[in-house]
Each structure stands twice: as C-alpha cells, then as structure tokens.
Symmetry: C2
Subunit: 281 residues, 2 copies
Amino acid sequence: MSTPMTPPKPHLWLVGAGPGDPDLLTLKGAKVLAQAQLVLYDSLVHRDILDLAHPNATLICVGKRAGQTSTPQVLIHDWIGRGAQQGLRIVRLKGGDPMVFGRAGEELQFAEQLSLGWTYVPGISCGTSLAGLAGIPLTLRGVASSAWLGTATGQDGRLTADLLAALNTSSTLVVFMGRRRIRDIAQHLVQLGKSDTPIAVVSEGSLAQQQCVIHSAKVWLTSEVESLPDPALLVIGEVVHHQLTPTTTNLRSITPSFTHEYEVPHLPETRKSHVQRLRRV
Amino acid sequence: MSTPMTPPKPHLWLVGAGPGDPDLLTLKGAKVLAQAQLVLYDSLVHRDILDLAHPNATLICVGKRAGQTSTPQVLIHDWIGRGAQQGLRIVRLKGGDPMVFGRAGEELQFAEQLSLGWTYVPGISCGTSLAGLAGIPLTLRGVASSAWLGTATGQDGRLTADLLAALNTSSTLVVFMGRRRIRDIAQHLVQLGKSDTPIAVVSEGSLAQQQCVIHSAKVWLTSEVESLPDPALLVIGEVVHHQLTPTTTNLRSITPSFTHEYEVPHLPETRKSHVQRLRRV
C-alpha cells in the first residue's frame, strides 16, 4: 500500500527566451523547461526552444499571431490560475526578456494575488543584443556612454516624451516596435539639427535571415521601410558609424575534437604580474 | 605518411557570461567554451562557467582583481594577437554583456585590424536582469515605459550629462558602478523636487548572497552605503515602488522525473480561438 503523496506545489517560472536564436536561451531556462508541466509561450519563441520542454508538458501559445488580435491578458491569467490550482510547474516563456516591455509585472502581480510562488529567469533582451549582433557596439568609449531602451509610441499614439528627451542626449537609443515611426523620429532629429545621425533597422535579429539597413536621419525621411520584415528594432546614435563586421560562424562546422597540436602562448616575464593562470594550463 | 594539415583558422568569440549565476550563461556560450583553446576571462566570471571550457584550453584571467590595477587593454590585445598568430579558437569571456560597458568595441576593432574573424555571443546584461531578480520590473505599464542604462561618472569625474537628463524623465534608470555616487545622485533628485523617488542598490545580483536595499532619495542623503558589497548597481524610479517578492527556488530541489499525475487544464469552448495547442497536448 502506497503512502499518501504530498500535494504538488505549484510554481511559476517567468522565462526569457532571448531574441530568436534558440541557442541564446540560458542554461537555467533550458533546465526549467525540461521540468515544466504547463508552458504558456509567446508566438515569437523559436520552436527549437519548445522542443526542450518535458515531453509530457502541455504547451499553449498565448501570443499574438499575424492577422489576429493578441491573447487577452485576462486569458493568460486564467491559464496561470488553472495551472496553480492543479499544482503544476508552470513556465511563462516570453521572447527577449520578460521584464523589458514584457508586461511581466502584471502577470507577477496576479501570481502574488494567488499566493503563487514565482521565479524570474532572465533572457537576452533584444535591446542589449541586437545592435551587437549587427556589429554595432551599444556603448563605445568617447562615443556613447549610455543606452536608452524604449518604445516609440505612447498610449496617445504620439512619440513618447522619454524618446524625445533621449534624442537630445548622446545616448544610443534602442527603439522597440519603432519601424513604422521611423520617419517621425527622423523628422525630429532633423529639427534638432541632427540630420546626419545614423539609424539602423535590425530585422529578424539573431536569426540566419537577419537584416540590417542603415541610413542617416535625413535619408530615412524619403526611404522605404515598409518592406523590412518584423520583428524589427531601431538603433539610433553615433555608435552606428562604428559598425564592425561580424563573421557568420556556424558552430556545427567547428571540429568538435582537437585534432591539431597548438602551442600555449607565453607571456614576457615582466607582464606576469598581471596574469593569473588557472588549473588547466 | 600523413598528409600536410590545413593550418588552423583562428577565430575570436566575444562571449557574455551574464550577471553572476553560472546558469545564466547561454547555451551558445557553453557550446563555444566547450570548443575553446584559449580563454581570456574577467575576474567576475563565475568559476563554474570556467569549468565548462574544454579541459585542454588555456585559461587566463585578464580582469581587475581587488587591490590591483586592471589588466591594461594593450595586454589583452597582445593575448588576442598571440592566439590569432597560432590559429587558436579564442574566447573572450566578460561578465554581463560585452557590448554594454564592456569595451567590446575596442577589442573588436583590434581583431579587425588583424583580419581576425569574430563572433559576438550576447550575455544577460546586469542592466536588464538585476532589477527583475530583485523583484522590480524594469518597465511597467502606466509607471515606466523606458529604461536608461549608464554609468554614473564621466571621464571628468562628474555625473554624466546623460544621467542628469535621464533623471528628468520617467525612465527607469539603471546605473552601473554608481554606489559611491549615490548621495550626489540623490542630491540631484532632491533639487529636481523628486526627493521621494526610490533608489534600490542591488549587490551581488543573481547570486545566493544577493542583497537589495531601498530608500527614497532624501533618505539616501544620510544613509550608509559603504558597507554594501560590490558589484552593485542602482535602480532608480517609480517602478521600485512596485517591487514584488520572488521565491528562492533551487532547481536541484525539484523532482527531476514526474511521479504524480496531473490533469491537463481545459479551456471553455468560447476561448479556444485564442489558443493554439501544439504537438504534445
């Protein structure tokens, strides 16, 4: 005769899936998914990440699909509530980082109303990674010492006051969901006497089909932006002039075992004080 | 008789190690490390991450140690040059994200001078993750719709113009290396009539010993900050008032296999149009 089981304890993990490339999920994200029972995921999450979920987990898409309205927040709350009631390990999986424009705060407030324990597992934010993946350092000594991350448009449909203030500084601006407002932003830069400021549009960042189109503000006033695919993000500021050229490197093409010998580099004696060598040298 | 080998092709991977917790490394970061031959790492990188490097890799610490000056940038460049000359797979491993205050741009410019191919593997930035790990959403509808990430002090030792501009907005401010300037920042907020604005100091974020201390600007004017451990980061803005309480959850305490049955939640018929169920339901 089996002893009565302790009732399962429900828990909510809020997990960031990163900007797109499934390998940009964290180790912690992968571990949590492998133990999930209910996964509520957004549409932009890569299918290969969903494959990391436990085979018995229930996977439900609660994101916006092309041509459809987005899932009402109340319905996501409803799913969280049902999962909690049944004592499940729930994973809420969002693209990028859930705390950066992910409405995580609202879902966590709801979890706390239910007395549901929760854990945040950060993801790579598009805001800090997509510029770099297009070869543009987000900050660079002597060029930009800060970055501003925001959306283009407020609830009133106008460019936000925070964005207008940031355009007046030397920060690098990363604008989420700003592609359709690029001419308004460019117009504002021209009015500020910054018509040469470069603006990069990074589309489908981190994926094989990533595109990056760069023009100055004055050129964007009359340039075509409609055909660039979503998701897209704008990077604005002098750092864009310092774009470098990353190499496309498919990890699978690297020999997995070391078949050639190599010499361990030696430091000149005078420099050794700066260097600490660890275990395996 | 063996045929002559193709000379090995050197490559530089610039990898973000994340904010501290080794499980916050990305899957891609782990894969790259497993194939590295030379790893140049900063001091703040967790030892468990170094354990993921290939056992034959040479590991060299090029970071700042307590009580020492930081490794001169030219020495790091020297190591990169030596590795390139020997055709090595070089990993430059930095805390957080290398493109966010990591001087990545300078190292990449150097790599391009050498015609050395490079790949950026983003890491979880402290700037987007540490607020959330302390229960503070970085953005929250109706409270803050943007975030500003920057350092407190410029090369002239004064608070930066970008920081002063950002304090005038409703952005959430995340200030790197700002602990010792907290009173100057608080003083500035008081002068702006924002003496009730909360400032959180998050120390050793993402690690088991993480601490978060919160006061309003006017209270920080006379509060002790010197004893809070580094690395520390400031989070400033109304979102700090909306702090929630994350649960400490040790992943290892979760049963790795599912030993209890659970019911798959069912949706009411009328809501099914919002939901797409995938494969494993």
